[in-house]
Symmetry: C2
Subunit: 243 residues, 2 copies
DNA sequence: CGTCAAGGCTGCTCTGGATCAGTCGCGCAA
DNA sequence: TTGCGCGACTGATCCAGAGCAGCCTTGACG
């Protein structure tokens, strides 16, 4: 029963050995099952008293808007990801989250989280760890934007996404299905949509990756990894640190 | 006695109302006082079993190196900041931290943290909150790199630094003392040192900010805030969320 | 079947910021 | 006192990537 709770539990168990109480509390987070259409804005930047969600099915993205209307996508969320944690921890949310595809998720209220932490304290440590893992990805993304060329940026992005998807059992070494448009990539990588197209074409012509028709295919995984300077197991974890 | 524990305690109390037990556990984190020379590398990317530190005095910066030798500074740490948390939570550190000036800090071992969390569970929530606040800054930094021009990037960076320093009582609305070189700024903002110099000159000529001789002066705070699209109170918190 | 909107794709021009190649001033050590 | 090295500062040149403009394909809809 508890084992079927899905990828979040599995993810957290990689860090702490969760007790029965912890698991039960975690199960409460899954009571409010909701679904959203593609394009629906689930969390609003500047909004107050928002919920968080645990993604069961579909893709989302978190982003910020600038005064001039530009947007920067901070991260994409895939099944098993906790989304909008910061919008609970802070009084007002500092970012927005939008459904990229149709989504199935469990809504988690601020009170669920805060009560849950007092009832099952190790859960707080586990969530801290998960949040740190997310932060590590954001940092990697930051390095991407600050210091890498458009091409290595794209390569690194696709490899990281592939690695994350593999961890939750979607897609493998050969590639993955990807619902993102070139506009999404542009907003995430700080490029123009036009340039994204050129970069993708170039990577394809080099025989490294193909991104077409909603499918990413790694044509030469080793070459791509080398180009991107990607560490293939930076997301891995070898078993609980905290028992 | 406990009140003199410094800025970290004050910061965490802004989120949770800490009990006596919590405060006592937190006090244990301050047992190993250390100091480091400017330039000393306190945490090594890829290193295992590293400590974390609570900064009491001086400035540090966290960064990552790329294969080609470039570096991207992710964030600067100032007194009251917790540094290297991720190097404890993960088996191997994903970033390095270097002292910018001479530093006074308390060394916190992985076991201190992990034991501390089981003894004083609310501390885990508090640290989660502090980590989320740091993540929010990294995200802001990411938006900076992805979507803003060199000039607004610089403006935003200086304003944010000023706001952070003001929160811990260093510097005020008129400016602050700043030990960073233009090379540090370049590595943080994804620019070349040469261009940093030009941008600073331009901002000075516009009468917005002056950064000279280790001092940042806000000559026209309103104008600068407007240029940067900076929200002056995005770091604020109005009192404990969790009682 | 025709229209219309998204999204993919491409060529051209122009510019922001990198790179190179220095000078200048200062603090420090021999 | 004389180098010497670091950091601030400047001008000239170059190029990655943005902006613009337009065309093609696909799929939804009346």
């Amino acid at each position: 029963m508890l084992m079927t709770q899905g990828p979040l539990t599995r993810k957290l168990s990689a860090f702490v050995a969760l007790s029965g109480d912890d698991l039960e509390t975690l199960a409460r987070f899954h009571r409010r099952r909701r679904s959203f259409q593609a394009g629906h804005q689930m969390i609003h930047e500047g909004g107050k008293n928002q919920s968080a969600f645990i993604l069961a099915e579909g893709w989302a993205c978190s982003y910020k808007l600038l005064p001039d209307g530009e947007r920067q996508i901070v991260d994409f969320q895939i099944p098993g990801d906790f989304l909008g944690l910061r919008s609970i921890l802070f009084r007002t949310s500092d970012h927005s989250i939008e459904a990229v595809t149709r989504i199935e998720a469990s809504e988690v209220l601020a009170s669920d989280i805060l009560d849950g932490f007092s009832r099952a304290p190790r859960l707080a440590s586990a969530v801290l760890w998960a949040a740190s893992r997310d932060e590590a990805m954001v940092v990697e993304h930051l390095v991407n934007l600050g210091r890498r060329s458009a091409e290595t940026r794209m390569a690194h992005f696709l490899l990281e996404l592939g690695a994350r998807l593999k961890l939750v059992g979607i897609g493998g070494l050969s590639g993955f299905d990807c619902p993102l448009t070139q506009y999404h990539l542009a907003d995430a990588l700080g490029l123009s949509a036009v340039h994204v197209n050129r970069v993708l074409r170039h990577l394809r012509e080099e025989g490294l990756v193909t991104f077409q028709k909603g499918r990413v295919s790694f044509d030469n995984l080793a070459g791509l990894t080398e180009l991107a300077g990607f560490d293939p197991d930076y997301l891995d974890q070898d078993g609980p640190l905290l028992r």
